[in-house]
């Protein structure tokens, strides 16, 4: 049974396929639905019927749902928070963190 996750992006056009760090919300029913994790994952824009990963739903900064389903394969679970100062853009902080690690 595939699991379903959700992520938010500022604009749909910003979201690309490939390996990335991102925050996802677990859509499994129950009292812990929407639990948030930071993960390193491989993202697929057009998972076919035989895709062996999980489903990723994408919403915009206004909460609008992209009708198209994406695919996700979680490679690693990362810390629950990212380095950054209050009111800093979390998306930029994740990117900056990636650059620091290099």
């Amino acid at each position: 049974m595939k699991r379903e996750y959700q992520t938010f992006v500022r604009q749909f056009k910003d979201f690309k396929e490939g390996k990335m760090k991102l925050y996802i919300k677990d859509l499994s029913p129950g009292p812990r639905k929407y639990d948030t994790k930071q993960v390193l994952a491989e993202i697929f824009s057009n998972p076919g019927k035989n895709f062996d990963g999980d489903i990723l739903r994408i919403r915009s900064e206004s909460g609008i749902l992209l009708p198209q389903l994406w695919g996700i394969k979680i490679l690693e679970e990362l810390p629950e928070s990212v380095s950054g100062k209050p009111w800093e853009d979390v998306f930029k902080a994740i990117k900056n963190h990636k650059m620091e690690k290099r």
């Binding site: 009292p31 639905k33 639990d35 948030t36 990212v82 009111w87």
Partner: protein, 478 residues
């Protein structure tokens, strides 16, 4: 006699017909929010959700405690039918006599009936609702009260800020970067790289939540104004993990700290202007260190959105009076201020004893001096009843000169990023503009040329008015 807690208030609302108890099981995942939202839009009562899916029956949700002027009046101990103008008057009058809070022992604080520390901490124990479909998370803090402190001055701030569950031990929140919480963070904690202690209070005395929405001046404690409005002190108790004081009769208190070097994503969320606009992932994280709560805790919430709801009503009152006092403080000849709930604190009516362009500019200067939450101000002569939208519209339509009666101010770094008409770039830079509409007669006009309002009360002499009123029934009129 003031309400001791939200439970007293709920009991009173039950008796007055301003509350319904919903016993059918409902889903915390959007169903509770949708019911609450629809009820606001129908102008109906507050709702106590007694059975929430996935949760034991002792854990309930209450939506809409002050979502009508009736319920605001009741919360202040006034008759439910009290007119809005009178509610404003009483609120202003009571604020003049602040009453210091009383600090009670933990044994006398119902919010300490249950205490979760360390590994026991789990935010998912509470039925935090997914309020709107498409929100960024489950907002456990909506109709809340967030306590923070400036350790140097001892000033304690209460603000109403949104906080959602990130995971079982973290919350993500969005006090605006221009908020008083942000001011304290920048002044004290960020320079020292010290985490900021914070307490998120759910289900306190109803007045306390209303005061948390008020733009009370920097350095002033909301607790003493809560006492003023209650006409008796509010009881506070010390937190378990820090020296913050919280209302002792609260339903749930989440103690934590906002780190200065770690963040988590917040939002988006359907906010008080009535839209879910692009405020997301630019807030604060909060590491939870303790949760204390009453037996059978009631999670208070607001299915926030288009007016009229608790937020637009509470802010109408608390912001309206704060603005009136602020304008007076600046020497502006203000008569009254009304914040129509439909304008969600973006639109303000100000009546003045003497109008004109300069006064209008002075009024706008006041609204744009610091953080700017207001985008449109209508300045009116004192003969206009500003609590009557019809009179305001009439004056605006007929007295505001399109060429010389409109004053605009532009600014950067202090705009309201929740204002829906700002572009993403403007929101990022907090760049905005505000406008004032001078709907007063120019003071330089000689009285004999000022147009006479053609209303019964203004265009006829007292004699004619009295004659007509006395003979009204004899004309065969009702």
């Amino acid at each position: 006699m003031a309400f001791q807690d939200h439970r007293d208030f709920i009991e009173t609302l039950k008796k007055s017909g301003d509350l319904v108890e919903l016993t059918k099981e409902v889903d915390w995942d959007c169903e509770v929010g949708a019911i609450g939202r629809r009820m606001y839009e129908m102008g109906g009562p507050s709702i106590w959700f007694k059975k929430v899916k996935d949760y034991p029956e002792e854990y309930t949700i209450y939506n809409g405690s002050q979502g009508t002027w009736r319920r605001v009046a009741i919360s202040m101990g006034l008759p439910p039918e009290t007119p809005v103008r009178e509610i404003y008057r009483v609120y202003e009058e009571r604020l003049e006599k602040p009453i210091d809070p009383v600090i009670v022992d933990k044994k006398k604080a119902p919010c300490k009936e249950n205490i979760l520390l360390g590994d026991q901490i789990d935010l998912y124990r509470f039925p935090a609702p997914m309020i709107h479909e498409g929100d960024g998370g489950r907002y456990i803090g909506t109709w809340d009260l967030v306590v923070t402190k400036d350790p140097e001055t001892g000033w304690t701030n209460w603000g109403m800020y949104r906080f959602m569950i990130h995971n079982k031990r973290w919350m993500a929140g969005w006090p605006q970067s221009t908020s008083q919480l942000a001011h304290q963070m920048r002044k004290y904690y960020l320079p020292r790289n010290a985490p900021m202690p914070v307490a998120l209070v759910i289900g306190a005395d109803p007045i306390a939540h209303m005061v948390a929405t008020a733009p009370i001046r920097l350095g002033e404690d909301e607790a003493k104004f809560t006492g003023a409005l209650r006409k008796e002190p509010i009881e506070l108790v010390k937190c378990e993990t820090c020296d913050l004081l919280v209302p002792a009769h609260s339903e749930i208190v989440i103690e934590g700290e906002i780190p200065t070097d770690q963040i988590v994503p917040d939002g988006p969320f359907g906010e008080y202007p009535g839209y879910r606009s692009g405020t997301m992932a630019e807030g604060v994280g909060c590491r939870v260190k303790a949760i204390t709560f009453r037996n059978n805790p009631i999670l208070t919430m607001i299915a926030l959105g288009v007016p009229i709801d608790d937020s637009s009503i509470a802010a109408s009152l608390s912001a309206g009076i704060a603005m009136k006092l602020g304008l007076k403080h600046r020497g502006i000849p203000v008569e009254d201020v009304y914040v129509p709930p439909e304008g969600v604190t973006h639109l303000i009516y100000v009546s003045v004893k003497k109008g004109g362009t300069q006064v209008t500019k002075d009024v706008l200067d006041y609204f744009t001096a610091r953080r700017v939450m207001v985008s449109k101000v209508i300045v009116l002569d004192e003969d206009v009843d500003i609590f009557d939208n019809g009179q305001v519209l009439h004056a605006f339509a007929t007295k505001c000169h399109p060429g010389r009666g409109i004053v605009v101010e532009h600014y950067e770094g202090r705009a309201n990023s929740l204002t829906p008409f700002y572009s993403p770039k403007e929101r990022e830079r907090l760049k905005g503009a505000s406008v004032a509409f001078d709907s007063t007669w120019p003071p330089e006009w000689p009285p004999e040329i000022v147009p006479v309002k053609a209303s019964f009360k203004t265009i006829y002499s007292k004699e004619i008015q009295e004659k007509v009123i006395q003979n009204w029934k004899s004309y065969g009129l009702k």
